[in-house]
Symmetry: D2
Subunit: 242 residues, 4 copies
């Protein structure tokens, strides 16, 4: 992957400070695990967390970010609306990619971009998840086999109140009887958004090679395309109008 | 169309009070023209406007509304966020249909449901618009020929910063050189949304039979489907998990 | 449902003659079960089978058919290409609806309309299927709860080599670990197509109320929309071109 | 672009031999113009034409082709069904990209992959076409401005009888009053397909920089993704089924 690609890995980073079970899995935070993996792929990575000033997402940081990954869970409401609007603007206007992971489905920024409640069913029962590839020609499934498993995980099930994705990449099967559209691609403005379900604060899911592969692929897919800017408002005619 | 279908026609109703050119076209308000046409189709219609208490959209009114049509232009910001959230909830949770007309593309409710800026190009030059049918099997194009024209209108052009519609029903050609995705269907939650471009405050567009036909068809399409409710949160497993 | 709606229920009708297990479930053929249910809904139903002249699908029959339902399994190759082209023409040009059931995914007409192999995974193990509603505002899910189960069935799993549906209505969970996009809507030309997975020749699936409800709903959705005809070829300009 | 990427540029190559006006624009064939441009981008290019044995598309050639571009016009029917099936198989099963140019919309391979008639409106009047970018974050619009023009061209207009594209990238405006979905992306099996309207046998359209840019971008987008193979048929269960 291009070394010029600049990724910012955002993490709420609260569980890891307060909960020993979380600390055991990711002692330095989920962001450190994700950032470490991406650095090994040759992209330029920085991290940002909720308790930094401006949540670590200043205008300057976002201006230098091609793709932002988002992990949050217990403190969605503490993210300031001003920063959410700033991220939204960078996605729509500048084409910044956004990768929303796991419980990030209830983040303010994802809900704002989707326009729906983004709620879903849940169950904490350490059950098996099997992610099936649906769109076999999509760059996000590069290097995968036709399915992969998360041995023990929280269940997320339909209804998942999101718009039908522009491309549905994965559907998950859960041991207890549910399914989920678990890999969903969206174009919004000049930006691209990928929601990817796997991940949990007390389970070593971001250490799993298939999950890391998908995140790497998604970063490549979500990078800005270099297309035209969006210009609105009054526009002169091409043709003479009588 | 079913007489049981209950439509609420909402209008900002400001232009009609302050601008003689608008008053000349729709002396009693755009809502009165749209409501009059729909009443003739046998649906049950009421109207609501910005300056009524709660903009005429009380919980009781929305609870009795199957489809809401929306026209606004100069006072989008005066619509209260609380009412916008209420409408949003009725679309997502109760499946109320929403038909957004013309300059309603910049309304708070449409932007909230789309998740994007909903901006587009404009030009006021009284030029010709030709709307081409794109999806010939869709119920919204019932009774139409393959295109119809608005003889003189304001131009709205791409980029139209909205999500790719679930179904693209019309594309408009404008005399001056632009195109627009001018009839766009969306599923959101249990609800259905249709954006339809034609309409102007100083031109008799809602008196045109093809435009009336599309609005009638759209009301039928957007009516609640009677499908399952959305239930979220904790869910017991079907299968035994060890 | 409108009494004017005319449905033709097509069945290969071979299993029922040669296989006692099939005969036990549908002694007079699967078509008789489906047609009986639809007749009770007030639509006008006729049946047609493979071994009739022109497979029962003469030009006259198709000209009087609003929606055709298709069930085939062991004799796909015996359907003549001429009849397949005739059905294709009625879907694309006349807007005839087509509902493809279960093993009909490998029929010539479905493969021709999809443009792909339409293959999928299978397993005959009498396992449980759970169909989850994905698009809660779609008319095909009217009257359903958020999922329903087929107690014992053959498994059909991804990859299902079809185009991404215009609307994904159901996703199935299978006891053995697979998922399937099991309710898929497509617009093609002036016609609408719905693929619905449930059904089996030796299991009483078409006697199940939820399955019957979906087929009824699908007939209503797939009926011709009454939109403009498709006209191709040379077209005079609107504007003067210099 | 990767030097490892292998493109085969196919051309009917009949007009260029028989028609002086065509010979004047592309004396060595349209394929030579397209291939020349792509070679300059650093991809590995070969050409193939109708009158070569097996139309130049032997199993060996296709096995070494990542992306195939297709231009045909007057001799669609002379392409053998066997070769069409071979190309189809390489798209669906091996993920070979396919870029269909201009009058290639009526080629056998495009019609087979789309499942529809692929017909559209036409007019030969040397009028202006303006292509508007619709999806601003798509890799195919890299390096473009928000629209570009073809100064003089044949008109192609809606209805364009194709499935709604997975991603609609361009919509064309024509001087005479028509529109067309003129840049359309499709996933089919493991492959990706892009239809791009510009091109004409007597006009120097493939010499135009924006058109060349789009073809280059499309080759990059359509290249095989390296995802899992499609495996069908009997599949063992993950879970024990009693």
């Amino acid at each position: 992957m291009s070394e010029e690609l600049r990724v910012t890995v955002w993490n709420e980073f609260r569980h890891e400070k307060t909960d020993q079970a979380v600390k055991d899995v990711c002692p330095e935070g989920i962001h450190t695990v994700i950032a470490g993996h991406l650095s090994e792929q040759g992209v330029s990575v920085r991290t940002a967390t909720l308790d930094e000033p401006e949540h670590g997402l200043t205008e300057a940081v976002l201006a230098e970010t091609d793709v932002l990954t988002w992990w949050g869970h217990m403190a969605h409401d503490e993210v300031s609306d001003e920063i959410v609007d700033r991220i939204h603007e960078h996605v729509i206007t500048d084409g910044m990619g956004l990768i929303v992971l796991h419980s990030g489905h209830c983040s303010k920024i994802y809900k704002k971009l989707m326009g729906t409640s983004c709620q879903l069913k849940t169950r904490e029962a350490n059950e098996k998840e099997r992610l099936w590839v649906i769109e076999h020609g999509h760059p996000i499934v590069k290097g995968l086999t036709e399915y992969f498993e998360i041995p023990q995980t929280e269940m997320y099930g339909e209804p998942f109140d999101v718009p039908a994705p522009d491309t549905l990449v994965f559907v998950s099967w859960f041991q207890g009887g549910e399914v989920l559209r678990s890999g969903c691609c969206y174009h919004r403005g000049r930006g691209k958004i990928f929601y990817f379900r796997p991940g949990h604060e007390t389970l070593p899911i971001y250490h799993q090679p298939e999950v890391q592969q998908v995140i790497t692929n998604a970063v490549g897919w979500a990078a800005p395309a270099g297309g035209p800017e969006l210009t609105f408002g009054d526009h002169p005619p091409l043709e003479k109008i009588d």
